[in-house]
């Protein structure tokens, strides 16, 4: 998957997890928590969805990389580069 596809995938997951949020103005560089109402269960939802959709296992010590859209894409890029967008 390309970075653009990964970014779109994350936004798609966020839309499911936080259906009341307007994601159109999301700042890629700013943390999710500063822009949205996300708690620890929501972050686990992101982890679970990535596991379900792409079989990506994200260890707990790596959760810090899921802070913002940009950091999440950067973290996932090497892990998803060989996976075709479905």
């Amino acid at each position: 998957m390309t970075n653009l596809e990964i970014r779109k995938e994350i936004l798609d997951i966020l839309a499911d997890i936080a259906p009341d949020e307007d994601l159109s103005q999301l700042d890629d560089a700013a943390s999710f928590r500063d822009q949205m109402e996300l708690d620890s269960m929501d972050f686990l939802d992101i982890v679970m969805e990535l596991r379900k959709r792409h079989r990506v296992q994200i260890p707990e010590e790596d959760y810090e990389h899921l802070a913002s859209l940009a950091s999440t894409v950067a973290y996932l890029e090497p892990r998803l580069k060989d996976i075709q967008k479905v």
């Binding site: 936080a18 259906p19 009341d20 596991r51």
Partner: protein
């Protein structure tokens, strides 16, 4: 009716919020009961296939955000809707209420089956790898979930829990709320019952295996308590929550009072997992009458539990004969014939549908009786058409459940 109870033990109903398969507030629901309008419809559920159910269509987003609906359970969502509606109905100045003095007591028949079935179904796609099991499973399936979701939604910091009481749970929630008020554990009790049971295939399959799941070409005619052609239970979802207060507090704020809890009782059959025991059912009614200091002749309407199974209907009729034999003034009805069996919500909903009779003196009927079972031919059974009465001062509400749990509530008009 003059109360004989001490002031600090007098508990009254001052608010009602409900969702039933044929109405999303008391006015709609009562109108449906008087018009003979059923809430049963066709329903399809995983593995079981096409069946029948009572389905609610309240606005889930009236009191919850979409994220909250997604996070929580159907039982929690039903409880949140009903409780918010009940508070609005009570005209309490909710912003000024000390939330630490509010208790939430919710009856459930079962809880957690829906989520567990869903999760097992989902991980099947992942070869039963449990690393795909949802982190939402535990907060959704803990037994206090429906009551806890209400506290989260409404900022209530007083006590909350559910009461697992099979199909006696709606009455049990109401009784628990009243007892907690009497004990001084809270100043306002939000109490009743909820059911999400139509979302678990297991309850349908279980009743089917037991030979107790209703079938009928016309959904509205499927639930037929006391009729010879009944063939079982229609499973329904729903909820009904009451605002309960001490009479002194309700009177002081000039509240509208739907009725006073005159008496109540719970007991056990100690005889069978499934089959009811009329001796203990009648004993439960007698205990409630005794606590209310009433005779059977003081009761104007009996709201029956009957679910449209042959054994259950006949046993309850046997129990009713023991208590009310020769009492010509009592009218007897059944709400499940309209909405099916709303499980944990049943007792609370069935009482609510009868409470407006204190104002209009009409006993709503039991519908779908075409060929009355002679063993259920009780004097006073209100068949197919509402009955205008000269007097409705008291209502006795039966609610019984598996493992032999019985509950009876008596409400009197003020």
């Amino acid at each position: 009716m003059i109360s004989t109870a001490a002031d600090d033990t007098r508990i009254v109903i001052t608010g009602i919020g409900l969702t039933a398969p044929n109405g999303n507030n008391l006015a709609e629901y009562r109108a449906a009961l008087l018009a003979g309008r059923s809430g049963v419809s066709r329903y399809d559920i995983r593995y079981v296939g096409e069946t029948l159910a009572g389905i609610c269509d309240f606005d889930e987003l009236k009191y919850q955000k979409r994220k909250e609906v997604r996070r929580g359970t159907r039982a929690g969502g039903i409880g949140i809707y009903c409780t918010n509606e009940a508070i609005t109905d009570s005209n309490i100045d909710w912003a000024e209420v000390d939330r630490e003095r509010v208790g939430v007591y919710v009856g459930v028949t079962e809880h957690g089956n829906v989520e567990t079935e869903n999760e097992i179904h989902d991980i099947k796609s992942y070869n039963y790898d449990t690393s795909f099991w949802s982190h939402h499973h535990n907060p959704r399936t803990v037994a206090n979930n429906p009551a806890g979701e209400i506290t989260l939604n409404m900022g209530i910091t007083g006590p909350h829990y559910t009461l697992g009481a099979a199909c006696a749970a709606g009455n049990a929630g109401l009784i628990q709320g009243a007892q907690m008020l009497m004990l001084g554990e809270c100043d306002l009790a939000l109490a009743g019952g909820v059911s999400e049971s139509i979302r678990t295939f297991g309850i349908f399959a279980g009743f089917a295996s037991q030979g107790a799941l209703a079938e009928h070409e016309e959904p509205a005619r499927a639930c037929r308590p006391f009729d010879q052609d009944r063939n079982g239970i229609v499973v329904s979802e729903g909820g009904c929550m009451y605002v309960l207060e001490k009479y002194s507090a309700a009177a002081a704020r000039g509240a509208r009072i739907y009725g006073e809890l005159a008496g109540y009782a719970m007991n056990s059959d100690a005889s069978d997992f499934v089959l009811p025991n009329p001796k203990q059912q009648s004993r439960c009614m007698e205990l409630a009458l005794s606590r209310a200091k009433f005779n059977a002749s003081d009761i104007d309407i009996v709201s029956t539990h009957a679910t449209a199974t042959a054994s259950g209907d006949i046993q309850e009729c046997t129990a009713l004969r023991r208590v009310f034999d020769g009492e010509a003034g009592v009218s007897i009805n059944n709400t499940k014939s309209f909405i099916g069996h709303a499980m944990g919500a049943a007792g609370a909903l069935e009482l609510a549908g009868n409470l407006p009779a204190f104002d209009d003196r009409v006993c709503h009927p039991t519908i779908n009786i075409d060929r009355l079972d002679p063993e259920c031919n009780l004097p006073g059974l209100t068949i197919n058409e509402p009955r205008q009465k000269d007097r409705v001062e008291t209502i006795l509400n039966n609610s019984f459940g598996m493992l032999g749990i019985n509950s009876v509530v008596i409400i009197k008009r003020l």
